[in-house]
Subunit: 453 residues, 2 copies
């Protein structure tokens, strides 16, 4: 393989961690999602661990309709949280090198606001801002924004593509060198380097220019999920990083090859788009310690909260015997389709009970590894070598514990094997991710790029 | 008069200061509006000076149509700036006691976002958030948000009133004590204290509840301008602070009496709404030094930028003799009405030239005092004694100079006369402003308030 590819790492810091029982864990501050000190501590730990970035998923509402009655009040998961684009500037002011990525929806925002806010975050953080572009999906969110139902898939994606076009257009309002600051001559900016976007599309009419300029990264780094066919194509066209989700190396390799293959169509190189699947590690100093940590958390899972996990597919199962079989026969063809093949197979093969299924979904679902640092890094290294990814987004079960453990145990093992940095290479997120500098579209026009051989 | 009323003070920190030539001043960092260090320095100075709050005005666009050709590029005023609701959390993380007030428009936002962002700011700052409610007015802003023209006055205000109703409703989603955090019993929140707003109005349909809770202030402090009849009534109904604009003590007294008189209708006391006019002081150790500071800045005023000040009323005057008379005859009855009576009187009485008029508007307009600290505090004290205000919003000509000078010279003089605090009284902005604690609307229903005698 030659010299090893360096791994990119993000720490997903939503709430108290990704396990729905996290808030009940003795080491977790149950009110952490409304405590700035909680977020700050985790961000500083991740920076000490040289993570490329911290990453915040987001939802713009409480999914009260997606749960059996009474379940939400027993669940500390995604109930109250800080708004990421308000939280990240505060974390920017108390960190210095780690990237700061916030989710913002293209369905319930206006592009001028989003362009401005991320541009401001890039300035405050001196070049560490990233935008995770999502289209939102839940009815709960729709009902907080003047709608009865969420937009259909096609309209959401059409709007998203135009939204990103407007935002990136606004970000190019000011060419490099536009601001002269010439006090003697009284020239603040050079009019020939200021550009009015004048976008007139199907979903948006936005004139510009943006009233923020001189972003340290040229523009913030763009993140997408890119799972569907349409999503893959959109990511290949414009994303810098894909936040992927795969739980087998085979699926990850196939996805990786497919997306990377699409890049040349858009004049982009293989390394211009990083693919980082989610990974939830539970690490211990011994395998037994790791297993005990996992089981301690699983034991805190409230059956009501477990049933909430199944609600979207099965509806309310509160009357059912939790230790009886999963009622697959309740599903129509439509529900079966939405319930992933993998789960159906698992339920059938292993004859899972309802309790076993929700325990699996809550605790062990997705790409989840339990073991020592060496065992976990073995798998991470294998994924890198197999070209299944460019790195990982760590989704800890609990915070701060999951972040602390990673930095204390896994980071040193990655470094020992030469898979991960021992110091930040650059000042900006773009530099640390090994992405090319952004070139303003108008500079490109002025100075034609050399044709590659 | 008995014991003196304590003065409230806000520092308006927009950009490089309120003088349009500020960026050309030798002590002003011309790129300050895109430098976090610039804002941080001023915020920390204002906190050292025990200001109740820093205050950020805002615009969501560059007013390119409100200027003669070429003028904007010579003006560093309101061109590029940080977005206040992104900037304030960063300042919150590096200050500890000063209030943080951001402007956000009800015309170009959605109430759920605004409720969430200010609630998050209140959490991050531990109770120092304030929202300045504005409706926006410029065509430039409309064109960045899918419109050709701004909304008419009546629709803007109708939308604003409903917007505030929704936001304050969402802020009450969680009653005091709603969050139990009972790990043993598995109870995260008490359902009887969680409230769905389910707002269905003319402009908005918003279900709720808000996915942020436990704000240290109960809810952020509300600011309004409240100039018009409709604005005064809206402020009397719901604002905590009015950011007023008066340049004579008579006008300020009349306004103050009028607004305070409206409060009982809404079950509110006289002290429940603070009225703070804008004040621009240019202070020196001697009167001559103050005058020299003022004139130094006036001399930096570019004629093009000066004419921009008159553009909204007179259109493009670039062909005219700057030292000739102001062409009042160019104004139709409509323009004359919008051009304030005070200016018309001034032009007629003093036979002002075009240059004299724009110099007056740029540098000396509004409530502007030039003198020693004792001279300036004499006027401030007289306004307080005459019940013309509850304090002032300082709008410095330049930053950091205007803020530095105030804290070095005027604050000690105010303190010496017992007009201003010598230490913060409370932890929150609400406490420092002397406002009553916020009582959640649902708690009010549960525990009836005693009828006042």
């Amino acid at each position: 393989m030659g010299s090893k590819r360096m791994m990119r790492l993000g720490m997903s810091m939503r709430g108290l961690g990704y396990h729905p029982a996290a808030w009940r864990h003795p080491d977790v501050p149950a009110n952490g999602t409304v405590s700035f000190q909680h977020y700050l501590r985790n961000a500083q730990t991740a920076e000490r661990g040289l993570f490329d970035m911290i990453f915040f998923a987001d939802g713009i509402g409480i999914r009260e309709h997606d749960a059996p009655r009474g379940a939400l009040a027993r669940s500390g998961y995604e109930i109250i949280e800080m708004e990421p684009l308000t939280l990240l500037p505060a974390l920017a002011a108390r960190t210095s090198r780690i990237g700061l990525v916030a989710t913002a929806s293209t369905t319930y925002n206006e592009p001028y606001h989003i362009a401005r806010k991320f541009a401001t975050l890039d300035l405050i953080s001196e070049g560490r801002a990233g935008w995770n572009v999502v289209t939102s999906w839940s009815e709960a969110e729709a009902r907080n924004f003047n709608r009865e139902h969420h937009l259909d898939y096609a309209t959401r994606y059409e709007r998203a593509a135009e939204f990103v076009e407007v935002v990136t257009g606004l970000w190019d309002s000011w060419e490099e060198g536009a601001f002269l600051y010439d006090k003697a001559a009284g020239r603040f900016y050079d009019e020939s380097r200021a550009h009015v976007l004048n976008h007139r599309g199907k979903h948006f009419q936005v004139r510009g220019p943006l009233n923020v300029g001189e972003m340290p990264q040229g523009r913030p780094v763009l993140f997408q999920a890119g799972a569907s066919e349409q999503g893959r194509e959109m990511a290949a066209a414009s994303a810098d990083v894909i936040y992927a989700a795969h739980d087998t190396i085979e699926a990850a390799r196939a996805y990786y090859a497919d997306v990377k293959r699409r890049l040349p169509t858009y004049g982009r190189d293989r390394d211009d788009l990083k693919i980082m699947p989610a990974l939830r590690p539970t690490v211990g100093r011994t395998a037994a310690e790791a297993r005990a940590k996992f089981e301690e958390l699983q034991a805190l899972l409230d059956p009501m909260v477990g049933l909430q996990r199944l609600y979207g597919t099965f509806g309310d199962l509160t009357g059912h015997d939790l230790d009886g079989p999963v009622p697959l026969d309740r599903l129509g063809p439509q529900e079966l389709k939405s319930f992933s093949d993998r789960w159906v197979r698992l339920v059938r093969e292993k004859n899972l009970t309802i309790r076993q299924l929700y325990e699996h979904q809550a605790g062990a679902g997705g790409f989840h590894l339990v073991g020592t640092a060496a065992e976990i890094v073995d798998v991470m290294e294998a994924w890198m070598e197999a070209e299944a990814c460019d790195g990982f987004n760590i989704t800890p079960s609990i915070l701060p514990g999951g972040c602390d453990d990673f930095v204390a145990l896994i980071t040193p093992e990655l470094q020992r094997r030469g898979l991960f940095r021992t110091a930040y290479e650059g000042r900006t997120l773009r530099e640390n991710l090994g992405l090319k500098p952004h070139v303003n579209r108008y500079s490109r026009q002025a100075v034609p790029e050399p044709v590659s051989a």
